[in-house]
């Protein structure tokens, strides 16, 4: 099973700063093992961020996003106590959902 994400959502002056760290290898499919065989690509393809169930950011990524991806976004409106849910799906169908509360 995929490892947990780390999500931080802090509101200041009506704008909520959302930072997400995802635990993922983001293998490019370009690298080779020492025996010459190609390490298959394995990367997050799509993710979404929702505040109280409403999607605010709908993202998609390729394998050139860094290992253990970090994303940051700003959203107008959320209040302390609102729920932020993040989920991702990778090219092998693995997925992960985590949530946090806006502070």
């Amino acid at each position: 099973m995929a490892d947990p994400m780390k999500i931080r959502a802090q509101v200041k002056d009506d704008v909520c700063d959302i930072k997400v760290l995802m635990s993922h290898t983001m293998e490019t499919g370009q690298r080779k093992e020492s025996d010459g065989s190609v390490i298959p690509a394995h990367f997050i393809q799509t993710f979404s961020i929702a505040v109280n169930g409403k999607i605010v950011v709908d993202g998609s990524s390729g394998p050139s996003v860094s290992k253990n991806p970090r994303f940051g976004f700003k959203v107008k409106g959320p209040k302390a106590g609102d729920k932020v849910t993040v989920n991702w799906v990778d090219n092998k169908g693995d997925k992960r959902t985590d949530e946090t509360t806006v502070i």
Partner: protein, 156 residues
């Protein structure tokens, strides 16, 4: 497809249909999203192909699109990129690295109060232009900056 996707995103978001559907166990957002990966754009081998894939061919340069990247990256494995669009009505941003084998790194659609800005880390194999593309009102805008990738560590 992208227009449809945005429309869908807006529609779902504003009406709360998604939340209702989720609550009813009718659909998982992951299922919707997984089908939504833009294969043609992400697997394009050059910038022109990637831009075509996201419907941004012929994007106009804009000063209202602000791209922040390091001038020199000590380590190409993790290069922080921030893109902020001041173009009214911006609904999406995309990040491209020209000299990566597949230039398109990521694309974001915004809705329900999300500001059109994004921070992410990308890999860079070598010194290259990094581009941000914004889409607003059916038009595309672009900006680019060079990032020099140096050799870190002990060279062994």
């Amino acid at each position: 497809m992208d227009m449809m996707r945005r429309t869908l995103l807006k529609g779902i978001g504003s009406s709360g249909v998604l939340a209702a559907a989720l609550a009813a166990g009718m659909l998982k957002p992951t299922q919707v999203l997984a089908a939504d990966w833009n294969k043609a754009a992400f697997e394009a081998k050059d910038v022109a192909g990637a831009l075509k894939g996201i419907g941004a061919t012929g994007a106009a340069e804009s000063k209202d699109l602000i791209l922040t990247v390091p001038e020199i990256a000590e380590n190409g494995a993790v290069v922080a990129v921030t893109a902020v669009s001041k173009i009214p009505g911006t609904t999406s941003l995309a990040i491209l690295v020209d000299k990566n084998p597949m230039p398109l790194s990521a694309r974001f659609d915004f809705a329900n109060g999300a500001l059109p800005e994004a921070l992410l880390n990308v890999k860079m194999g070598q010194t290259s232009l990094v581009r941000a593309v914004a889409q607003a009102g059916g038009k595309s805008y672009i900006v680019q900056k060079e990032v020099k990738v140096t050799m870190g560590g002990c060279g062994g």
